[in-house]
């Protein structure tokens, strides 16, 4: 736009071509193309869901959920895999929630956002979230099983068979805890940010110390956020297979895990082995579909719960 044009008196503007803002196109093409992308994504989700629900719903029964597998996975249920998955995520939650929540509290309540140490921690959290899950599996094997477990064995159980230096549910749970740590931290931090300043100030004004304020005011207020983080972590942890393949999951066990150093069966791993290493694919197919449906329903329920709680937290932020 040149200056001369700008200086023209308003009345003299005969609407030259440069000033004509009538759209050349109505924008229908970009609008419909991008909408098509949305439709395809919805269709993908629908097809996957439909296929799995149709294939699996017929198998689901009380017996299927409460009985162990029989005849080389061609009959029976998946109870040990459900039990193992639940035990695994419970152990994982016990490890990840305290660490994640304390980290979030430190980042939000104790430090300035621009200090060097904090930037480093944030960098680490972001990168931890991006490390491939198979690398976590390698780490679990090298660090937890061989270094820590092997170390305990060589100190206390000299000579005999490995007691702790072998794949076990506790090592798998700890590996998953590291994998899900960023989820818990990020979700807790988001909740901490929504807590109004006035509440903390009121607590300090009454003479409470920082630790008391955290325990009595901040933590109760952040509870929904912590819950969201925990649920998301559980849903993520229940679906991961690569990190537990070498750190504790077993294809078939005649007993349920009862000690921390037992191996365990797990839904995702069960699916992987049934789908790839079954001698008779057609015979195991119904049970395979049923197992996938159980895992999918489990993760979807957890995710929906997390989405709902989170939207409630977000609306709270608007209200205060």
């Amino acid at each position: 736009m040149n200056i001369a044009a700008d200086k023209r008196p308003t009345a003299a503007i005969g609407y030259s071509a440069t000033y004509q803002y009538k759209p050349k196109s109505s924008g229908l093409l970009p609008r419909s193309l991008t909408f098509l992308a949305v439709l395809i994504i919805i269709a993908i989700l629908a097809v996957i869901m439909f296929n799995i629900v149709c294939g699996g719903i017929g198998v689901i029964s009380w017996e299927f959920l409460t009985h162990p597998p029989e005849r080389g996975m061609e009959a029976g249920g998946i109870f040990p895999a459900i039990f193992g998955t639940v035990a695994l995520v419970i152990l994982m939650t016990i490890a990840v929630i305290p660490i994640g929540v304390l980290t979030a509290i430190y980042l939000q309540e104790y430090t300035r956002p621009d200090s060097k140490g904090i930037r480093l921690i944030r960098l680490a959290i972001n990168n931890l979230a991006g490390v491939p899950s198979i690398v976590f599996g390698l780490f679990g094997l090298g660090f937890f099983i061989q270094w820590i477990g092997g170390g305990i064995d060589s100190l206390f159980f000299e000579g005999g068979r490995p007691v702790w230096g072998q794949p076990a549910i506790v090592w798998a749970a700890l590996t998953l805890a590291l994998l899900t740590l960023p989820v818990v931290i990020i979700s807790t931090e988001e909740a901490l940010r929504t807590i109004p300043r006035e509440l903390k100030d009121a607590s300090y004004a009454l003479g409470a110390t920082k630790l008391q304020t955290i325990r009595r005011v901040i933590l109760p207020q952040a509870l929904p956020g912590i819950l969201t983080g925990g649920i998301l972590a559980v849903s993520r942890g229940a679906g991961e297979v690569a990190p537990i393949m070498f750190t504790g999951a077993a294809y078939y066990l005649p007993y349920l895990p009862s000690k921390l150093n037992d191996q365990f069966m797990e839904l995702g791993y069960h699916i992987y082995v049934m789908a790839t290493q079954s001698p008779d694919v057609e015979a195991t197919k119904p049970i395979l579909y049923g197992t996938v449906l159980v895992l999918l329903v489990l993760t979807f329920m957890l995710n929906s719960a997390a989405i709902m709680i989170r939207s409630r937290i977000r609306s709270r932020r608007v209200n205060v």
Partner: protein
């Protein structure tokens, strides 16, 4: 008057509590360092031990090797054969092939849907799209692998008439489904965080809404969209279960999308369980893990840097 004494009950307790929280906060940092140290540690014999180097030196991992006298030099991955062959090239090509197919599939869908959600969708529509993507993100990768192995592979084979059921195309598309949510989320976030002052300015000079989107918002959010793609690519490179189940796992050198293939991550998953601890094969698998770690680390670093810069710029313009 005792009840007005506001001195904390125990200064010691405060001190210990704060230090405990501070120490815990460094777990993530310590973890990332430990991961690198412990994975690289198991890979070091490739660089230091002459015994291991006999079978798997850096040279042997990268360049063509003559495995039998009189035969032509080849790149081969056959760790279990009589003469173990540890060339990483077939795996590298497989990894790249699957990731590229995934990106070709996921970028148009992810970015397209993000543009729609941020620029055109009504509030109600947006509230439908976001949970759909979140549910898609919540599908465990083993379930996607299962779906690709049993359903998608058959469908592709029948419609395209392919020789191999499990191939790069099949694995790549399934991988793409896993990557869509990442690209969508980051791109949508970048576009919605474009300051309203910019949109208003464009509207004020007479642009209509879609001109605002395509000449104002998209260019401004472009670095964010690119970051979403980069992060998605990082995920595609590292994802394991999908490619392990859907790619056929044949370590062959081929540029064809309809041949079976094998990736770095799937190789670790498939072979680590049977390998002898401390053998050259074991060291090579950890070396592959180190490569994956370093690569995804750099990718995430780059993506995060771009996003942080973008955030800074947008907030600066608002103020």
């Amino acid at each position: 008057m005792e009840c007005y004494n506001f001195k904390p009950k125990s200064k010691f307790r405060e001190f210990v509590g704060e230090k405990l929280i501070a120490v815990t906060a460094f777990t993530a940092l310590v973890a990332i360092l430990l991961i690198f140290v412990f994975i690289f540690k198991e890979a070091t014999p490739i660089f230091t031990s002459p015994e291991v180097q006999e079978e798997a030196s850096l040279n042997k991992l990268t360049f063509k090797q003559v495995y039998r006298e009189g035969r032509a030099a080849k790149w081969k991955w056959q760790p279990e054969s009589e003469v173990p062959k540890f060339s990483l090239l077939p795996l590298f090509i497989g990894t790249l092939k699957a990731a590229l197919v995934a990106m070709l599939f996921a970028v148009p869908l992810g970015v397209g849907a993000a543009i729609y959600a941020s620029e055109f969708a009504s509030k109600r529509m947006r509230e439908l799209i976001k949970p759909v993507v979140e549910l898609l993100a919540g599908i465990p990768s083993v379930v996607l692998g299962f779906f690709a192995l049993l359903v998608l592979a058959t469908a592709l084979q029948q419609t395209l008439g392919l020789t191999f059921r499990l191939n790069a195309l099949n694995a790549g598309i399934a991988l793409g489904i896993a990557v869509i949510p990442i690209i969508f989320t980051v791109a949508e976030d970048a576009m919605t965080s474009v300051p309203h002052s910019l949109r208003d300015a464009a509207l004020a000079v007479g642009a209509n809404p879609w001109q605002v989107s395509f000449t104002m918002v998209l260019p401004a959010a472009l670095p964010g969209i690119a970051a979403g793609m980069v992060l998605g690519f990082g995920r595609a490179i590292g994802e394991t279960m999908i490619v392990l189940m859907a790619s056929g796992n044949a370590a062959v050198i081929s540029t064809s999308l309809t041949d079976s293939m094998r990736t770095f991550s799937a190789t670790i998953a498939a072979e680590l369980a049977e390998v002898v601890f401390g053998s050259p094969h074991y060291n090579v698998l950890f070396f592959i893990g180190t490569l994956l770690f370093i690569f995804t680390f750099l990718i995430n670093l780059a993506g995060d840097l771009v996003l942080a810069k973008l955030k800074e710029r947008f907030q600066g313009k608002m103020g």
